[in-house]
């Protein structure tokens, strides 16, 4: 057990030092990784535990960002209000829309969330009195905690990752809790779970609401980091990259989500200085992961570790 604690301690030290060691744009990317981890956790819960492909996360991400922008810039309220208002709106919308849409299954649910995402991005353009349309809303203040202004990536990094750790803990709790038990039962066999009086529809809707909450939190964190929001950041392709996080990382493991977030934020950055070819490489990377590693990086890692352990046992026999 102490070996595991040692590992965690080392990881924490590295985590704390990282923003000061790396150049500023890498720190900036690490902040984005934290934001994407929060959004990806929601998708991971739905994909990993309910088998639901959710392509509407950019909508809740947008709602969180616009709420933070509107509350702080237009109404001059403290940034905490933006987080809460954004979360409230996103969760309510997720509940109201989730109930009918989650009656769909398989492809049709995925298509339903894609349609939802398309509707939302059309409305973000249309209601420019709220969202500023293509001009967006600028001048979103940096978050300050008791006077300590988080204006540089190296400072904001800690705030974002603390929120990310809290979300990871909440997701971990959910997975280990009674709800997590019912979710796993539902994923293995809908009919059997129903016979044990597990409310499938209710569960799916509630997890969809939690996913929307995480999306909205990530949106608010994004707004305060970029201090500017506009429709281009909440399109359908953003939903697709959010979906990639659990797919690439491994939907059922929390470290997998972090790995997926690192992949989705760092890969385009490194590929982009290869010129116009970078989009092709990103697409191919996705295809390779989906074909070669059906259960994501974490899945592959576990398989390697298992095979390694098995070889270890065989030698030991």
């Amino acid at each position: 057990m102490t070996r595991r604690l040692l590992w965690i301690a080392v990881a924490l030290v590295i985590w704390a030092m990282l923003p000061f060691v790396v150049p500023r744009n890498i720190a900036d990317l690490l902040v984005f990784t934290g934001i994407y981890t929060v959004a990806g956790l929601g998708i991971g819960l739905l994909l990993g535990h309910c088998g639901i492909v959710n392509l509407a996360q950019a909508t809740f991400y947008g709602l969180g960002a616009y709420a933070s922008a509107y509350c702080t810039v237009m109404m001059g309220l403290p940034s905490a209000v933006g987080f809460v208002v954004g979360a409230a709106i996103s969760m309510t919308l997720a509940y109201v829309i989730g109930r009918p849409i989650l009656r769909l299954t398989g492809y049709f649910l995925a298509l339903g969330t894609l349609a939802l995402s398309a509707i939302a991005s059309a409305l973000f353009f249309e209601w420019d009195w709220l969202t500023g349309g293509t001009l967006g809303i600028g001048g979103i203040p940096k978050i300050d905690i008791f006077g300590f202004v988080l204006d540089r990536p190296s400072r904001y990094y800690f705030f974002v990752w603390i929120v990310a750790f809290a979300c990871m803990a909440a997701a971990r709790n959910l997975v280990d809790s009674r709800t997590g038990l019912m979710l796993r039962a539902m994923r293995d066999s809908n009919t059997a779970a129903a016979s044990l009086s597990i409310d499938l529809q209710g569960l799916r809707t509630r997890v969809f609401v939690v996913c929307a909450l995480f999306g909205s939190l990530a949106g608010s964190l994004f707004a305060h980091h970029v201090s500017f929001v506009s429709t281009q950041s909440f399109t359908v392709d953003r939903s697709i990259s959010f979906l990639l996080i659990p797919v690439i990382g491994g939907a059922t493991s929390i470290p997998g989500i972090v790995a997926g977030a690192v992949f989705v934020t760092f890969l385009p950055e490194f590929l982009s200085n290869l010129g116009d070819i970078h989009q092709i490489l990103f697409g191919l990377a996705l295809v390779a992961v989906v074909v070669m590693l059906p259960d994501g990086l974490m899945g592959a890692l576990n398989r390697i570790r298992a095979r390694y352990a098995a070889r270890g046992n065989r030698n030991a026999d």
């Binding site: 709790n173 809790s177 997590g180 039962a185 044990l196 597990i198």
Partner: protein, 253 residues
């Protein structure tokens, strides 16, 4: 009949497209009894079973459970009222361990909200403890402790049936619907199953048993024979075996 029947079916009829699956089936299941339902494949046994457990809504007739006619009640609501079923092919949660399967059966006895589970509040931890304790007790009782931490996917047919039974019983059902429980089991496992049926019945669980296995059916006090959607004979096992129509249908003689 001293007490009111726990379950009574009156004129149940159902059709799939043009095919008349159930014509007009009526019978009662007394509280505390073991009632059997036999019939060749395609006689409508499973459809009737799906109607009683709420997976299908009948086109005709009503199902009354403890005096209350079940019309729009969901599968989940019927489960909470104590009406629980098992499946012809045991539906265990493959990727979960045996203990987790049984724990899933206890979920309906506990209550936690999503918020409590997210924040792991004391109430949530307490409910989880209750679930774990009940599941451990059930494992003990059903002699599953040896397989406790193995994934359900690795169990044999017999072990899967016992696990499914344990998972259903731990939810304290009043009426247990067993759908072809002996299918895929060897003689030793069927004998073990028979003992369990008798023991659970003795503890007050009413059982409705559907099977085409005459041997197991002897455990039932009254048996109804279903043939092409109609009850053609009712009575105890001995009289059923002597009934000319049943012999003609079953033995072709």
């Amino acid at each position: 009949m001293p007490t009111e029947p726990i379950l009574s079916l009156s004129e149940i009829g159902h059709r799939f497209g043009g095919l008349n699956v159930l014509r007009s089936v009526s019978f009662d299941v007394p509280e505390g009894g073991i009632v059997g339902l036999i019939g060749p494949n395609g006689s409508g046994k499973t459809t009737l079973f799906n109607i009683v457990s709420g997976y299908i809504r009948p086109l005709m007739g009503t199902v009354t459970y403890r005096g209350v006619p079940l019309v729009r009640e969901t599968i989940q609501k019927r489960g909470l009222a104590g009406l629980v079923r098992t499946f012809q092919m045991p539906q265990v949660f493959e990727q979960m361990t045996v203990i987790e399967n049984v724990m899933a059966g206890c979920a309906k006895l506990t209550r936690t909200t999503m918020l409590q589970d997210l924040l792991r509040t004391p109430a949530a931890r307490d409910q989880m403890r209750v679930i774990r304790e009940r599941a451990e007790a059930a494992c003990e009782r059903f002699h599953l402790c040896g397989l406790r931490d193995r994934p359900a996917a690795s169990l044999t047919a017999g072990q899967r049936r016992i696990l499914e039974l344990a998972r259903a019983v731990v939810g304290q059902p009043r009426l247990l619907l067993l759908d072809e429980p002996s299918s895929g089991l060897n003689t030793q496992e069927i004998e073990n199953l028979r003992e369990w049926i008798v023991r659970l019945n003795a503890e007050g669980i009413t059982i409705l048993l559907v099977s085409h296995d005459m041997g197991l059916m002897t455990v039932a006090r009254t048996v109804h024979t279903l043939y092409f959607g109609e009850i053609i004979a009712s009575g105890d096992m001995a009289s059923i075996q002597r009934d000319p129509r049943v012999r003609e249908v079953y033995l072709g003689v």
